[in-house]
């Protein structure tokens, strides 16, 4: 199947992006973001998930949680290019919310093909935030690596690096029984579930180890089918993360360019100097390629699924590197102030670093791409 030339980015997708931008400009501009997440700089501050739950309810009212849910499961069934555009705005505002995690859970649930998964999608449509609990203590992104065991419908073990664990109502857990891996739904307040929050660098997310002790769970995908569902959902997860990183990178670029226009040294705005100007141009070039790759990957998921994994890994590789580079230069080129808590750059620097490593950084993506390209 061939991709449409315009990535399938039509008026509906533009409207979703415009409304997201308007909403986030109002409710998550950098002043509000700073007040929400960067109030207490001390590393030993109280470890809490900084987010505004009333804003989540507004996101649900805007229909965000329904976007990726198929129409057959009661959702809006929007194209991936719409989700990518929304994720780009979320990254550009560093929006602290479980929306990305909920998208990831949605992507996995819609590949399960069971009534239980359909019911779980219904909960998402109604506004219940969810997250994936599928990573082991070693931080492996391999779909079959899990430290959780399933015995019948009871789960025991620990899922690590669980994103937004303290914001969600449900976990989608991968668990092993014998050689096979299945997927299970567990309520966050279920008996035997304990959430051990990590202390993390990123101020806009929360992350935890989630322990399960003989927890009653609903099977979403039977043993042997879990890995398949996760693998099928992977291109969408990678593309959404990449879109978030592209947005975050663009913020770092634009903010630093603005600073380079007003900060004067040696009688010139520092953007006059090529040692400042040229790296910012390099960041722009990296961002533009990453952004083009993101929409290509999203469009492939919509229209050319056989190419989706390749293009999604390319997008995540390029976006991880672009965001890392743009954030790195943002701190450096802000000079002394860039090294301080006072400068907002650190919020995006930290968020972009976190996203860079989720589901594999650029070298990890390239390692997976090698057999697809060097054949």
């Amino acid at each position: 199947m061939a991709q449409p030339k315009d990535f399938g980015f039509g008026s509906e997708e533009q409207m979703i992006r415009a409304s997201a931008k308007k909403f986030l400009d109002e409710h998550c501009n950098v002043e509000k973001l700073r007040a929400l997440v960067a109030g207490d700089p001390r590393p030993e501050r109280e470890n809490k998930a900084a987010w505004d739950e009333t804003l989540w309810n507004k996101c649900v009212e805007l229909g965000w949680t329904q976007l990726a849910v198929p129409e057959a499961a009661g959702g809006a069934g929007m194209k991936m290019v719409a989700i990518a555009a929304l994720a780009e705005e979320i990254g550009r505002h560093a929006f602290p919310s479980p929306i990305l995690s909920t998208f990831f859970a949605t992507f996995v649930l819609r590949e399960c093909g069971t009534d239980a998964a359909k019911a779980a999608l219904g909960k998402i449509t109604e506004g219940a935030p969810m997250t994936l609990a599928i990573t082991n203590a070693g931080g492996s992104w391999n779909a079959l690596d899990t430290d959780v065991e399933a015995k019948g419908d009871k789960l025991s073990g620990t899922a690590s690096f669980v994103q937004d664990a303290r914001k969600v109502k449900f976990f989608v857990v991968s668990a092993r029984s014998g050689k096979d891996v299945g997927l299970y739904l567990v309520p966050a307040d279920g008996k035997g579930v304990s959430i051990k929050a990590d202390r993390i660098v990123d101020l806009t997310r929360d992350q935890a180890r989630v322990e399960f002790k003989d927890v009653a769970a609903t099977a979403l995908a039977p043993a042997g089918q879990g890995g398949k569902a996760l693998s099928k959902a992977l291109p969408s997860i990678l593309t959404t993360l990449a879109a978030d990183l592209v947005g975050g990178a663009e913020w770092a670029l634009q903010t630093t360019v603005q600073y380079a226009k007003v900060r004067e040294q040696f009688g010139h705005p520092i953007g006059f100097f090529q040692a400042v100007k040229h790296p910012l141009v390099n960041a722009m070039i990296a961002i533009d390629q990453a952004k083009s790759l993101v929409y290509n990957a999203a469009c492939a998921i919509d229209t050319e699924p056989e190419e989706a994994e390749k293009f999604a890994r390319m997008a995540k590789a390029a976006a991880s590197d672009a965001a890392s580079f743009a954030s790195d230069r943002a701190v450096q080129l802000h000079g002394g102030i860039g090294f301080t808590w006072e400068c907002d750059v650190h919020i995006f620097f930290k968020r972009n670093k976190h996203g860079q490593f989720l589901f594999g950084d650029a070298p990890q993506q390239r390692r997976k791409l090698a057999p697809m390209i060097v054949r």
Partner: protein
């Protein structure tokens, strides 16, 4: 981009034209010549190369594959959106390139935008057919990146201009009938002291014009220095007004640097069949090269480097696609103005990786029987610096992007 995607937007008339192009090219693709063809039109050195390539362009022109979108009055086909199709089909078919690359890419659009009606009728047709080869007189020994520092002087005497000066890096001047020339009519203002002309080369050799070859780092020639000593040029060959030379030069550069498809119909032109232009070339090379006794394609370092190039290549391809979707571009010039910079740096990195894959065999050059692919990879890599230096160095391109797109203060 996949062929189907290119086809999907064709109107019925365009689809018919595509079929026609495909059939015509299949029936008329010339046999490989007995002599070596260079990697690009800018290294055409010998008369046998010139004659072969000029005949090919003329044949394509006569068949309606060149200048399709130019007005009929100027020798074009008078169509809309046909050149894109012809170019795609020519590229797919891996036919020889068009020799008149400077005329097609820069001369024709510059004359179309700034020439008098008489000039358009007189010169564009010869560019399209390739019967008159063109060159470009911009750079000088003292004016490279600082192009507006040009000192070649044009002095008005009655109805003629007297040209004196020295141009360098003038590709194709040794075959050219005409040159597009940036000259200075006044020293009062750096930019407004510039005026733009068409000047004769071939017919004026020994009568005010001297062309001398310059030898590149590859050992090939193809470009030249051109010296003007009291060359007389009629005022009718001036393009646009006196003092508007910089504006006209910007039109030329816009086309040279790849932003042009947005504003002007392409006059035609398609790539040849040289190595060092895509990831596939690298993969093929890696499979046939050994590294530590095993195929280089199995080496994890080489694999990673090839994948980096593949991502870069896909990124550039998708950039071209996104540049045409306004709702996904905050600033419409952002991607087009990157084209020359990223395209040439990409080819440099790609050709360098070719050398890494070849390892010690990258030492073997043109004419060596054991050189992989005839020594084309070291040739391509050395030539790649022409790309990153000519038409505004990569450093100048970064200034332009930082200033015009990102709005930072102008560097001096």
């Amino acid at each position: 981009m996949p062929e189907e995607v290119e086809k999907s937007k064709d109107s019925p008339e365009q689809a018919e034209f595509r079929q026609y192009c495909r059939k015509w090219i299949a029936e008329n693709k010339p046999p490989k010549p007995s002599f070596r063809l260079p990697q690009s039109p800018l290294e055409v050195m010998t008369d046998e190369q010139r004659v072969y390539l000029q005949a090919w362009q003329k044949k394509c022109y006569d068949a309606g594959l060149v200048g399709c979108d130019y007005p009929k009055d100027y020798g074009g086909g008078g169509k809309k959106g046909f050149q894109r199709i012809a170019n795609q089909e020519l590229a797919h078919a891996q036919v020889p390139f068009f020799i008149n690359v400077i005329g097609l890419g820069m001369g024709a659009p510059t004359i179309l935008h700034h020439g008098s009606e008489e000039n358009k009728r007189r010169y564009i047709k010869g560019i399209l057919s390739g019967e008159e080869i063109w060159c470009q007189g911009f750079s000088e020994p003292g004016a490279g990146s600082d192009l507006a520092g040009a000192r070649t002087f044009a002095e008005k005497k009655g109805d003629v201009w007297i040209i004196n000066g020295h141009k360098v890096w003038t590709s194709l001047a040794h075959f050219a009938s005409w040159m597009i020339l940036l000259a200075r009519h006044s020293n009062d203002d750096k930019y407004e002291g510039l005026t733009y002309f068409i000047v004769p080369i071939k017919s004026a050799l020994g009568k005010g014009v001297t062309v001398r070859p310059l030898i590149k780092i590859t050992g090939e020639t193809g470009f030249n220095e051109v010296i003007f000593e009291n060359l007389e040029v009629p005022d009718t060959l001036r393009l646009d007004e006196v003092g508007k030379g910089w504006t006209v030069a910007m039109t030329t550069l816009l086309h040279e640097r790849g932003a042009a498809p947005l504003v002007t119909p392409s006059a035609g032109g398609a790539g040849g069949d040289s190595v060092g232009r895509s990831t596939d070339d690298l993969v093929a090379l890696a499979k046939s090269s050994l590294r530590d006794g095993k195929p280089a394609s199995e080496d994890s370092y080489i694999q990673d480097k090839i994948v980096q190039i593949a991502i870069w290549e896909e990124g550039l391809r998708q950039n071209m696609r996104r540049a045409r979707v306004p709702s996904l571009c905050d600033n419409p010039m952002r991607i087009p103005l990157q084209g020359k910079l990223v395209g040439t740096e990409f080819l440099q990195a790609l050709s360098h990786l070719g050398l890494e894959i070849e390892g010690p065999k990258s030492s073997l050059y043109l004419g060596d029987d054991n050189a992989p692919q005839g020594g084309q990879w070291p040739l391509a890599h050395m030539n790649s610096y022409g790309g990153t230096i000519a038409a505004g160095t990569s450093e100048i391109q970064r200034n332009i992007l930082g200033e015009r797109v990102l709005g930072m203060a102008k560097s001096k």
